[in-house]
């Protein structure tokens, strides 16, 4: 790097992603905090260690194969066109996958994607809390964090991805590629896993399993919001020539290398958050946990198009996403007896799905990405410049792929396999006693134990099924 301008561009970009990674760490801190808060006292240390161990297993596997998948699978499920040559640079044995004087971007870009991987795993963690074996969860974490989400990113979150090039798929801040897939995956596991002891009564009535520490859960969600800022910045390319070589025009872009501004997405992040919070406050009758969850839902719903929406559009999408998630969570719980410990399937899955679909309508006709030379014509229309166009059909199919094909289906199968080998769920007596009991011990050893009204119900359930 002998040219100062080029060097500043490279070093700025390197530092930019490094900062986003540090900020995104707060997402993980937030998930750990709020899941511990939502859990019962008898399980909280297992919840905590489960979240902590996401970090090493997903990091190591994302180094070994996750990052390569992102570059290798862009041509689609049947690898039409083969594995691109570029992917060879990201084998774990490539000299770019380590300190290298000739490369200053790979490590920080890898880490930015890796932090998304942790997020995807943590989304599932909360849903299946208090009865899943840690080892089973860690396998699920590797599957979502280093395999399935990064396949979907390769397909639909890359300017060269087949879903972008052929379907005009658009999902700037990952409504589908992170949230819908993780929500769908969580649902797939939950169907096999079953509810916690006593969650549903003999006549199907729903029993509320109260968090052991509501305010801690809420602070955790606020930390997730904070990390989400870094996530938004990490989804952008900070400095890119969106003009021509003859007439350059430098701008931030989204992941598809299409123009946006950091300023614009700041409007939309806050307005969609606000829409979700207002809807959640109204729907939940000011319940702090659900108000904050709906705030997160608002951002998730608007994320697919928050690179381009007007702030009030972002707010309205946030309102709609929160309504869908809140109503959807309780409907599915009541109708299908799905025990989602934190409402993750709804907050991430349903609102993420909705966010992708609505972006297809609101951004209909916008350029999705520059066409790849030699690529087939887009299936659902193109712009006057010959770019694949964002459209409702492409995004609807994309949402189904994210939630269903890469989310629900593989994780339903994986959970069935884990269950078949006896490695999915802890024994009922252990679940009843609590996972910390006789392992780590009480997480609050100096506070007296007060039996909650739910504990006798649990014991009756276990006795009845013995």
């Amino acid at each position: 790097m002998s040219d100062l301008t080029d060097s500043l561009n490279v070093l700025f970009t390197e530092f930019y992603y490094w900062v986003t990674v540090v900020m995104m760490f707060l997402i993980h801190v937030g998930f750990a905090t709020y899941e511990v808060g939502v859990s019962r006292r008898k399980n909280l240390q297992h919840i905590l260690i489960k979240n902590i161990m996401v970090i090493p297993v997903v990091t190591v596997t994302f180094f070994l194969f996750g990052w390569w998948i992102y570059f290798a699978f862009v041509n689609g499920p049947f690898l039409n066109g083969g594995v691109p040559e570029l992917a060879e640079s990201f084998y774990p044995w490539s000299v770019l996958m380590g300190p290298n004087m000739g490369d200053r971007i790979t490590g920080v870009f890898w880490a930015a994607f890796l932090l998304f991987s942790w997020t995807a795993a943590s989304i599932i963690s909360g849903a299946i809390m208090e009865r899943t074996k840690t080892g089973a969860f860690l396998i699920i974490a590797v599957a979502i964090g280093s395999v399935f989400w990064i396949i979907d990113a390769s397909w639909g979150w890359s300017p060269n991805g087949w879903m972008v090039q052929l379907m005009g798929y658009h999902d700037a801040y990952a409504s589908g590629v992170i949230h819908a897939i993780a929500g769908g995956a969580a649902l797939g596991v939950l169907v096999v896993l079953g509810p916690r002891i006593g969650k549903f009564g003999p006549n199907g009535e729903i029993r509320n399993i109260r968090p052991h520490n509501v305010w801690m859960a809420c602070v955790g969600l606020l930390l997730v919001y904070t990390g989400f800022w870094g996530f938004y910045a990490a989804c952008n390319i900070p400095l890119f020539n969106v003009g021509t070589e003859a007439e350059p025009f430098f701008s931030a872009t989204n992941i598809y290398l299409m123009p946006t501004t950091l300023s614009g997405i700041t409007f939309n992040f806050l307005m969609s958050l606000s829409g979700g919070l207002m809807a959640g406050y109204y729907l939940s009758k000011a319940d702090p946990y659900w108000t904050l969850s709906c705030g997160l839902t608002g951002i998730i719903a608007a994320s697919a198009g928050n690179d381009l929406y007007h702030p009030i559009q972002a707010m309205l999408v946030g309102v709609a996403g929160a309504i869908i998630a809140y109503k959807g969570h309780f409907y599915v719980e009541r109708r299908f007896k799905i025990d989602d410990g934190v409402g993750a399937v709804a907050v991430h899955g349903y609102s993420g799905f909705f966010g992708v679909v609505i972006a297809g309508f609101l951004l209909w006709g916008y350029p999705a990405a520059a066409p790849v030379v030699g690529s087939a014509l887009p299936w659902f229309g193109m712009t006057p410049d010959g770019f694949p166009a964002i459209n409702p059909i492409g995004n609807l199919i994309g949402a189904v792929i994210m939630f269903g094909v890469l989310g629900f289906l593989p994780f339903y199968i994986l959970a069935r396999v884990l269950k078949a080998i006896g490695f999915l769920r802890v024994p009922r007596r252990v679940e009843l006693a609590g996972l910390d009991e006789n392992t780590f011990g009480d997480g609050y050893p100096y506070l007296p134990h007060v039996e909650t009204d739910f504990e006798p119900i649990e014991r009756r359930e276990v006795r009845g099924s013995a």
């Binding site: 002998s2 297993v57 290298n100 396998i139 007596r429 252990v430 009843l432 006789n438 276990v462």
Partner: protein
């Protein structure tokens, strides 16, 4: 015995700067083995732990109200 870089005199000519360049495939194999072994060993231990506790709770009549 030098393990990698001995001079920073020509930085533009330098690529990877970690020691033992050329051992990347072997390091990858070690990483894969360590990762799989971690899942297998900790998974077995966890299963054993829950099974033992389950048996203990059964003996103690843990479901008694």
């Amino acid at each position: 015995m030098p393990t990698g870089i001995e001079s920073w005199a020509n930085p533009a000519e330098i690529g990877p700067i970690y020691p033992f360049v050329g051992t990347e495939v072997a390091l990858t194999i070690i990483g894969v083995v360590l990762w799989i072994a971690f899942h297998v060993i900790t998974g077995r231990e966890e299963n054993k732990q829950w099974d033992e506790l389950d048996a203990q709770y059964e003996r103690e009549g843990a479901t008694d109200a």
